[in-house]
Symmetry: C2
């Protein structure tokens, strides 16, 4: 048990060290020597867990899907909004997720994951949109596949621009803007006016524990829900 824990801990140390190096330098310029120095482990320990730099990168990219946990909210469009807000929040706080996104967006000599990470995000979004449609939350005539592709693409670009402009300081606000502009084209009016495009109060307030996911939106009762800005409404 203790041995297993230690193994898991050193694997995580390597991933975190590699993430910070990849995040700073990109894949090609990152060296295993620097990753080792930051992790404080021996080269033997590194190769025990990962045979190559490429294997570390692959493990980092796989970690991206962990950030795609679907919240429980009964209104599925709200769950979708909250999923992206929580993802944005984690992008700001989690170097492993940041490195994973950088490896996805950039081409490098790393045999890059190509579509897989986009597909994982798209699957999560499309699943939520289908549930939303079944529950009558969607306006008729919206092409869910097309919409999914746009949401994933737009989110990717929005986080990239937020990173370039200000190191993702304003990422949550940019994601809120995206939803305020997009939801009026997809949600029925009755659902639209009840959707919140900012983080639920409990998540927005709770910064103490690094582990919890977006499961707190059920106590969104503290604040009245913010209705999206519907310019014609």
């Amino acid at each position: 048990m203790a041995v297993q824990d230690r193994g898991e801990r050193s694997r995580r140390s390597i991933l975190e060290a590699a993430a910070s190096v990849f995040d700073e330098r990109g894949y090609d310029a990152a060296s295993t020597t620097e990753i080792l120095a930051r992790s404080g482990l021996t080269r033997g320990a590194l190769y025990h867990h990962f045979p190559s730099k490429e294997a570390i990168a692959a493990a980092l990219v796989a970690a991206q899907s962990e950030a795609l946990m679907v919240p429980e909210h009964p209104v599925r469009l709200q769950a979708m909004v909250d999923l992206t807000l929580e993802y944005a929040r984690r992008l700001r706080s989690d170097p492993v997720l940041r490195a994973s996104v950088r490896l996805t967006v950039e081409q490098s000599s790393f045999n890059r994951p190509g579509m897989t990470p986009y597909r994982q995000s798209a699957d999560a979004i499309l699943g939520l949109l289908r549930e939303a449609e079944r529950q009558g939350e969607m306006l008729p005539g919206v092409d869910l596949e097309e919409l999914t592709q746009f949401i994933v693409g737009a989110f990717t670009g929005v986080q990239l621009m937020s990173q370039v402009y200000c190191g993702r300081q304003d990422l949550m606000a940019r994601v809120s803007t995206m939803w305020r502009l997009l939801l009026p084209s997809i949600a029925t009016p009755g659902v639209l006016m009840r959707l919140r495009t900012t983080p639920p109060p409990s998540v927005a307030g709770a910064e103490g524990d690094g582990v919890r996911e977006g499961d707190a939106e059920t106590d969104g009762t503290a604040r009245p829900p913010v209705t999206p800005r519907a310019p014609w409404g």
Copy 2:
């Protein structure tokens, strides 16, 4: 005169050769030796125009702004849509523009341009939105700065995803989707129903200019202009 022409031609040869190398390998892995081999010029000619690899990259990034030509259309929201469609078309056909975008999106040892290319795009879009507002095309209450940032970010991510999925084969269709989803939140109903989200027939139909790359989705001439899907209208 002839000498100047030759100078301009060899400068352009270097940029095109460099663009193809950067587009394939990224900045860090690109070598001036390979750029030279592709341009067919001497090293002396290369250094006559550009003192370093970094100087070539900077010239490529500067070329991006040339693709931001604002169309003449009297409806300024239509001009904005057409600007992005034309930019998308050029991205597909022009390796210099593609390399420029890659240099912008990726971090590398190139002292990267950071915000500048995003700012140039944002300036063009914001200018058009302000004119659209003055002409009464915009719904009241839309924050033009915020909207501009979203449009530039969304376009960036949409073209990135199209590149990863299919080498930008479906880029025009994805840009059209973006506008169908976004315009209902920003345009007044009267303007909305007259907006076209596919390339103008003249661009789509013009085969003789030697520049276009024969992309199938632009021959939308057979179809009547598609009005954006306004789910409530």
